[in-house]
């Protein structure tokens, strides 16, 4: 068992709450998809909650930035976006965080320094590198967290970006959310290496491995790395090993893996683990957890009610948000 005594109990409760909110939100989103309230792609984050919540807890989004791929609901909630605006976006309503223009793949909140929500595999990596360029240019002490999946690491955009970050001393933290499958293809079938952190050496950058199934390990790992990056303005690559419980997207039954494998990961569930650690440390009780869960289920239901009651975008809005 981990020693939780050095952490503020309220801070730990918030982490547990943030992860559980993501889990309940995603479960509800899947349900709403079944009711055809949501269309298109829906890439769920179940199982990966510790990654977004642990890393966001480790940085300062008043100066740091965060960009991810299309599996973005977890990050959106982790940075503190209102579940109502996210659910309304999934419903395609004008009250959605991007006015019904983006849907599941394109959550953005510029005020919270969350720059999406990017749909092309790996294409956010150069963008994040450019955000880190601005931080270097302004010497503002910020770092940029750039998340992408293990499928994206083979794109040229990854290669070009890490080299640019190295030669220009950009404070970018490249995080492979390694859930071991690029859509339905197991990593080992398409990658020459299974430990992605070794790739960093090819760019003269440090590489790290972090267990993404444990909130505190993610938090401590990212915190240390972010502090180093802030000081040295040297980018790095992190192989953050995690697992998604659901298919690649909602339409994927995930027949390419065994039930045993899935069950094995569920034994290390980030929410179950943190809950157990906190109960062991007597920071919460089973009843507290149940009450929290009920509260979050209500919160998510309120998000659905809000999305349902919201207006469709007016037709003229299609011409808006194209040019500044």
């Amino acid at each position: 068992m981990k020693d939780l005594s050095k952490y503020d109990p309220e801070w730990l409760k918030k982490a547990l709450r943030d992860m559980l909110l993501i889990r309940r939100f995603e479960e509800k989103a899947a349900q709403m998809y079944g009711l055809r309230k949501i269309g298109g792609f829906l890439h769920l984050y179940n199982g990966q909650e510790a990654v977004a919540v642990g890393s966001v807890a480790a940085v300062d989004l008043s100066k740091d930035y965060l960009l991810t791929s299309y599996r973005d609901h977890g990050h959106a909630l982790a940075v503190g976006m209102d579940p109502k605006s996210i659910m309304a976006e999934l419903f395609g309503k004008i009250t959605g965080c991007v006015r019904g223009k983006g849907g599941s793949m394109h959550m953005f909140d510029v005020e919270r320094h969350f720059l999406g929500g990017n749909g092309i595999v790996g294409a956010q990596i150069p963008i994040a590198t450019g955000v880190a360029f601005k931080q270097m240019y302004d010497e503002d002490g910020g770092v940029t967290l750039c998340y992408f999946g293990d499928g994206a690491i083979h794109q040229g955009a990854f290669h070009e970006s890490l080299n640019l970050a190295r030669i220009w001393d950009l404070p970018a933290i490249y995080i492979v959310e390694n859930n071991h499958f690029g859509m339905g293809t197991a990593t080992k079938r398409v990658s020459g290496v299974e430990d992605f952190s070794v790739k960093a050496a090819g760019y003269g950058l440090p590489g790290h491995v972090i267990n993404g199934m444990d909130f505190l390990e993610v938090y401590e790992g990212i915190k240390k790395i972010a502090d180093e990056t802030r000081k040295s303005s040297t980018a790095c690559l992190i192989d953050l090993k995690t697992y998604r419980y659901k298919g690649h997207s909602i339409s994927d039954p995930a027949k390419y893996r065994t039930k045993d494998e899935l069950e094995q990961y569920k034994q290390q569930d980030p929410i179950v683990q943190l809950k157990a650690q906190m109960i062991e440390a007597k920071l919460i009780s089973e009843d507290d957890f149940k009450a929290l869960d009920d509260e979050l289920k209500t919160l998510v239901q309120e998000a659905v009610d809000f999305a349902d009651a919201s207006e469709e975008p007016a037709l003229h809005t299609m011409y808006e948000d194209v040019l500044a």
Binding site: F108, G117, A123, P126, G130, V131, F133, G156, A157, D321
Partner: protein, 326 residues
């Protein structure tokens, strides 16, 4: 008024805007120590240092995407593509990111960046290095595209583009960098989306942009000798497009020839031709003609490569056809 080369006009625009605004920086292959593959950025590294003039590795996708990211958080990058032929590697970043960041974010983000470099056929370069690819970019909502034909226009348009809060792509021409023209010493700006009548005429409208404008002007001289008074309309900006200027000219002359050095299929030229046919149908005395490149990859052989492209002779013939004088 001083007469300067096109490359100097572009350099002046970048220099003046970099001096005015510390958020503006230049990046691209060979833009710094080498002073630009076509010497367009000459002296800028010495003046602004390597923080603001950045030699990149040969990674068009990477540095174009980096510029999109930097622009999304408030810098104002100028990207130099060594040629548009290499820009295809960066197409994803232009189409899916530069043009979409604002849309995907529901209007939260603006992307004030300029991408510029030579486009269109040059000489003896064969099929991979001699292509007019502007139509690829004009097709996409969320970006602006300009294509100047004179040093005066290049400087005025580029300065405006650098101040614009949207991604603007400027298609230049390798063969036109040495062209000279008058450029005033005092500051001026040219708005995007305004065409310019380069020669007034009453009998036929020659609509073009970029390098072929000079062919159109020469063709107009030859046509004058044949008693045909041609108007040459320089679009200057392809998106936004000054449709009113096109229609005003065609409604005056009742005849139109569109010249675009790109291939004929799904091109800027074919789009302008369709617009004229649709919106000036009752004013036209002849079907709209288009002079484009032949629908083939560019050959190396000089005779063949010239035959592939628009020429003064082809424009004259087309103008005579719409005037029923051939």
């Amino acid at each position: 008024m001083p007469e300067i080369q096109m490359r100097e006009a572009i350099r002046q625009a970048m220099d003046e805007e970099m001096e005015r605004d510390g958020r503006v920086f230049l990046l691209g292959e060979e833009v710094g120590e080498y002073n630009g593959a076509y010497k367009v950025s000459k002296g800028l590294l010495d003046k602004y240092g390597d923080k603001r003039v950045r030699d990149t590795p040969i990674t068009e996708l990477g540095f174009t995407g980096l510029a999109v990211g930097a622009a999304s958080v408030g810098l104002r990058p100028i990207v130099e593509w060594m040629t548009f032929n290499f820009a295809l590697l960066a197409l994803d970043q232009v189409v899916n990111n530069a043009a979409k960041m604002r849309h995907m974010s529901g209007g939260q983000i603006k992307v004030p960046m300029v991408i510029r470099g030579p486009n269109g056929p040059a000489e003896y370069l064969s099929s991979q290095h001699s292509q007019a690819l502007h139509s690829y970019f004009v097709h996409v909502p969320g970006i602006k595209v300009i294509a100047p034909s004179t040093p005066y226009d290049a400087k005025g348009l580029l300065k405006t583009a650098i101040r614009d809060d949207n991604p603007v792509i400027m298609a230049e021409s390798e063969l036109a960098y040495g062209w000279t023209g008058e450029v005033p010493e005092e500051e001026y700006l040219i708005p995007l989306g305004k065409a310019d009548v380069k020669r007034e005429g009453a009998d036929v409208t020659l609509v073009s942009f970029g390098k072929p404008i000079y062919m159109a002007l020469k063709a107009a001289d030859q046509l004058a000798d044949m008693g045909i008074d041609a108007e040459v309309l320089d679009l200057r900006s392809l998106r936004p497009l000054d449709e009113d200027a096109i229609y005003a000219s065609v409604r005056k002359t009742n005849r139109a020839v569109v010249i675009d050095e790109a291939w004929p299929v799904a091109s800027m030229g074919s789009h302008v031709g369709w617009l004229i046919s649709k919106n000036c149908f009752d004013d036209l005395d002849a079907p709209v003609e288009m002079v484009s490149s032949e629908d083939v990859p560019m050959p190396y052989n000089h005779t063949l490569e010239l035959a592939v492209q628009p020429s003064v002779e082809k424009i004259v013939r087309a103008a005579k056809r719409v005037s029923y004088k051939e």
